[in-house]
Symmetry: none
Subunit: 221 residues, 2 copies
Amino acid sequence: MRVLAVEDDQRIAADLKTALEAAGFLVETCEDGEDAWFLGDTESYDLVILDLGLPGMDGLSVLKKWRANGRDMPVLVLTARGAWTERVEGIDAGADDYLPKPFRMEEVIARARALIRRSAGRATALQSAGELTLDANRMSVAIRGVPVPATALEYRLLSYLMLHRERVVPPTELLEHLYGDDDAREANALEAVIARLRRKLGPGVIGTRRGFGYFLEGSGA
Amino acid sequence: MRVLAVEDDQRIAADLKTALEAAGFLVETCEDGEDAWFLGDTESYDLVILDLGLPGMDGLSVLKKWRANGRDMPVLVLTARGAWTERVEGIDAGADDYLPKPFRMEEVIARARALIRRSAGRATALQSAGELTLDANRMSVAIRGVPVPATALEYRLLSYLMLHRERVVPPTELLEHLYGDDDAREANALEAVIARLRRKLGPGVIGTRRGFGYFLEGSGA
DNA sequence: TCCGACCTGACAGGACGCTGACAGAGAGCG
DNA sequence: CGCTCTCTGTCAGCGTCCTGTCAGGTCGGA
């Protein structure tokens, strides 16, 4: 899961990054409204966390421009305490949720997870496809109920496939969401991760559609 | 849009009903946990607004039981001020959003709209012509509902014919679309692909109009 | 009947994806 | 600070499946 955190206070930004990464997200940060707009418009994120008070371009304007361009990733807005009119404005501008400052990191994590789940139309933290089950709270993986140790990278991969379980996910898209654009890896890195996961999970969990990409077996068709 | 508001404080419940109805929703209210569980489990709502402090059955338990039964309508949870652990619990139990009391009615409306907007969508990318069905999500092909293994190239060919099912597609156009201009193949390459496909799909799926091109049978052409 | 358009089976080269080995980076720890 | 252990990207090699080509065969129209 790839997250963009837009926050000009460097201390808060660093805390966000740490907490989100500990929760298994791939985090990119950005401190400026113009940069944020550009990144959100050109890159593909599963979630954006957006501070409203920004240098460069105001957060609300950034959000409105994204929505006007048809970008529909979930956006979690950070507002100053008590500025509830700002919150309503934010939601009307297309935000999916807001959080008043100061906030607990636990809350950010919980809301981030909820937003990502909801953007896929699912409700609970426990998700399964076939014999595979992911627990977003514990970042744990189980096959037929038996826990399987998985590294952070492996979990990210599985959780992205789970989020898009109804379709075949192209390797380029997986690479982008696992690593981000800045440090691209060779396609083979992905194959290596898949191979290691398959060894752990056994056959019949991760499927390949040659020429198209990967998918979770037993999830619909 | 049909909304269930679960709230034991009658004054708040009335305010909610008024505000939501003014915003164009069809609102039903309920003051008791047991009733709420029954209604949410048997009726179909576009949104549920759920107070956590309830007589009868606790709001969190109601929510969990709904989710356990596979009910996945969006749920907006109302929590006491400052009880952020409760909020995190609520979200983990499957809530899609929460709102701390006291709240402004404008906020409820805005969030209700956002939640319903989010939960919409989700289209299946199925296309069919005659007895042939293509699933753009799974990149899969089925004939009379029976899945047929198809390679990437074969799928691309079928999907192009499907896109232009109302007309006969000339071989030159198919070649161009399948391979691009740069590396052209002999016309026979296309014929080979068609032949392999016909063997898999059986007769009466891909038609030939001698001297003009190919088309999908049973699709008006 | 003749010709060109199209079909088909066989085949080989190659693209694609999988795997095991290896090493560098980083975290944890004494 | 140095050691160890885990994680993970890279590389090389391998097997499998795909697919273009070729050499015929078949069909349809004039």
